[in-house]
């Protein structure tokens, strides 16, 4: 799909919806426990410089995800 992006490609302040989680079962489950599942809306708050982690807002909480993990979350900007 053309408008499917990797979470880290989003700019700060952009809002998107989770389309796919391209990780193993463990990753998927861990993210689900935090409320990150398909269809969840997220907003990128901050990206640390130099390939650092990404801070997102999800379900009213602020979460910091390592880049590698964030790159496994594919989203569609809305």
């Amino acid at each position: 799909m053309i408008n499917e992006l990797n979470l880290i490609k989003l700019k700060e302040g952009e809002v998107a919806e989770i389309i796919t989680i391209a990780g193993g079962q463990m990753t998927t489950k861990r993210l689900a426990d935090l409320g990150l599942i398909l269809g969840t809306k997220i907003k990128v708050l901050r990206k640390a410089p130099l390939w650092g982690p990404v801070e997102i807002e999800v379900r009213g909480s602020r979460l910091v995800l390592g880049r590698g993990l964030a790159s496994k979350i594919l989203v569609k900007p809305i």
Binding site: K29, D33, S61, R62, G66
Partner: protein, 573 residues
């Protein structure tokens, strides 16, 4: 009438104020140990309330009752298998939706639950108004608004819980084991019904500060300023306080000899007391202020920002951002630093971080670096040594993460809002860490102090020094007595400096050591072995094999690096 006993549990995800509530309920009547066979902290406490003796268990902060981590497993097992009268589920009202995901899992276990809606003051400030009555109806369990830091709502939660026990009210039948999707949808729906955003969010002071401290560029200088200010405060205070203690205790040895005379037994007795005094001289002036300030930063919310800023850096050594907390603790004392490696999620990361913390120059090593190199060679060389230590930590971290099996886990961390630090929590946290340190280090340091004094009295030390001289003299270019110093240093690193002064009969080290020797000696002291207390902690946390593995490696490594450094430095001076 025998007292009625209740078993209750505090459960909730991280950063919801669980420990504040736990401290409020149990005060100093708490016992922090380990789960049997696991290196996971188990905090229990007791309180008496309305004729009940209530045992409170503080579960680890977890996001799920699944099997992702050891914490989750033991929590699940405890709740399902043990007799639990009721569970207090603490949730952060500013982040209700995420918190309810956990609550819904908890309800599926079919135990009585009271929901403590904490941080009501903060959610109000954020402009969120939560309809507790409605929430109570939707969840089918009692809901109590709470401001734990002010002690509000805590007795009410207990009352509700006891009421549940008395009435034996049936637990609401939540459909067992909802899927993650169903939980997310349900939680979202509940929040839509109970939360009203009453006023538009305006940018608060804490948000502005947040923007500064996490800023792409400014975040880093701010971090350096905060951390340097912290270190300077500790050492200024520590130096003042420890010299004060030294003055107080300086006449004690003569006093001891006056009473017990001079004999082998008196000397051995004194060495035990001397070890205990020295332990206090490190603990009171350096370790206590260090923890107070560190936990202040943590409670305030700043440490999470440090983890955010340094995650990338930490990844290069195979661990994630949270590892910077044990590493920073290491500058105070390696013992609690090793203990705090438990915050890392996997065994692999715990071990790598634990190994690296033993290389961090602790306050005792700082005494050597400053007292020897800083004073007699130059402050820039002292800082150079710190820098070198950091480089070594990075190099070895990289090596360890490359060679150990398994993959690095990624950072997943909740970013807490800045909040007013809670003094009681900070003081209690410091106290428990200090107690841990004294319990582990105390007996070992005193016993081995007596043993080494025994070796000294038997007159074996020169023989040992001679035995070690091929390494100390030939390879490292140090005087023969260094062998003795390094033996004493195993007890407590700062003894290297103390014994140097004692054995040479002068504190003016420039007379007996040249700059190259001073730098080499400081470098060796920094790296050559974890002190006995740290070794014991490593053993406790990782088993004897790994503890001795680390020790063996560090001895060989320090000798190697020291010899090379000596040869390079000899050309420079």
């Amino acid at each position: 009438m025998p007292e009625k006993k209740l078993n209750i549990i505090l459960a909730g995800i991280a950063n919801v104020g669980k420990s504040v509530i736990f401290n409020h309920l149990t005060g100093l009547h708490q016992h922090i140990g380990n789960w049997p066979g696991k290196t996971i902290e188990k905090a229990e406490g007791t309180l008496h309330y309305k004729g009940y003796t209530i045992d409170v268990l503080d579960l680890p902060g977890i996001y799920s009752l699944g099997t992702y981590s050891i914490e989750e497993e033991i929590s699940r097992e405890y709740i399902t298998k043990e007799k639990v009268d009721f569970i207090i589920n603490i949730v952060d009202s500013t982040r209700l939706e995420t918190n309810l995901l956990f609550t819904l899992q908890l309800l599926a276990l079919q135990k009585p639950v009271v929901l403590a809606l904490n941080m009501m003051d903060l959610s109000r400030k954020k402009g969120l108004s939560i309809d507790c009555q409605k929430l109570q109806e939707l969840l089918g369990i009692p809901v109590v608004p709470m401001i734990a830091t002010e002690g509000k709502g805590i007795t009410e939660v207990l009352n509700e819980g006891i009421e549940l026990v008395k009435t034996q009210k049936p637990v609401p039948k939540v459909q067992k084991e909802l899927t993650a999707k169903e939980r997310a949808d349900l939680s979202h729906q509940i929040c839509r019904e109970v939360i009203k955003v009453t006023k538009p969010k305006k940018i608060s002071w804490s948000e502005k500060f947040d923007n500064l401290t996490c800023h792409k560029i400014w975040g880093y200088p701010v971090m350096i300023v905060i951390l340097v200010a912290m270190v300077l405060t500790i050492f200024k205070f520590g130096n003042w306080f420890s010299s004060l203690l030294e003055k107080i205790t300086s006449g004690w040895q003569i006093g001891w000899e006056n009473i017990f005379g001079i004999s082998i037994w008196a000397s051995l007795g004194w060495s035990a007391i001397e070890s205990a005094i020295a332990l206090i001289q490190i603990a009171l002036p350096y370790i206590i202020p260090f923890y107070l300030l560190l936990f202040l930063l943590e409670d305030w919310g700043y440490l999470a920002r440090v983890a955010f800023l340094l995650d990338n850096l930490m990844h290069r050594i195979g661990v994630h951002g949270k590892a910077c907390i044990p590493l920073m603790l290491g500058f105070g004392c390696n013992v609690p630093a090793c203990l705090s490696c438990r915050i890392m999620e996997t065994q692999r990361e715990r071990f790598i971080t634990g190994f690296l913390t033993t290389l961090v120059p602790c306050s005792a090593v700082t005494v050597i670096i400053m007292g020897l190199v800083g004073k007699f060679v130059g402050i820039s060389w002292a800082f150079g040594l710190y820098l070198f230590a950091i480089l070594i930590i990075f190099g070895l971290g990289k090596l360890a993460s490359k060679t150990l099996p398994g993959e690095a886990t990624e950072l997943i961390m909740e970013m807490p809002d800045y909040k007013q630090p809670n003094l009681k929590t900070i003081v209690l946290q410091t106290w428990f860490r200090l107690k841990d340190f004294l319990y582990i280090a105390g007996p070992l340091v005193i016993i081995s102090g007596v043993i080494i004094e025994g070796i000294h009295l038997a007159g074996w030390l020169p023989a040992i020094a001679n035995f070690l001289s091929p390494i100390t003299v030939k390879w490292l270019g140090l005087p023969t007595i260094t062998g003795i110093l390094l033996i004493f240093g195993i007890l407590r690193k700062e003894l290297i400096l103390v014994m140097l002064a004692t054995l040479l009969g002068t504190a003016n080290f420039a007379q007996v050591l040249n700059p190259v020797q001073m730098i080499t000696l400081a470098l060796i002291s920094m790296l050559y072995i974890p002190c006995i207390a740290t070794l014991a902690t490593l053993w406790r946390e990782f088993g004897w094999r790994k503890a001795f593995g680390i020790t063996g490696f560090e001895i060989v490594f320090a000798i190697l690096i020291g010899g090379i450094a000596f040869r390079i430095l000899a050309r420079l001076f």
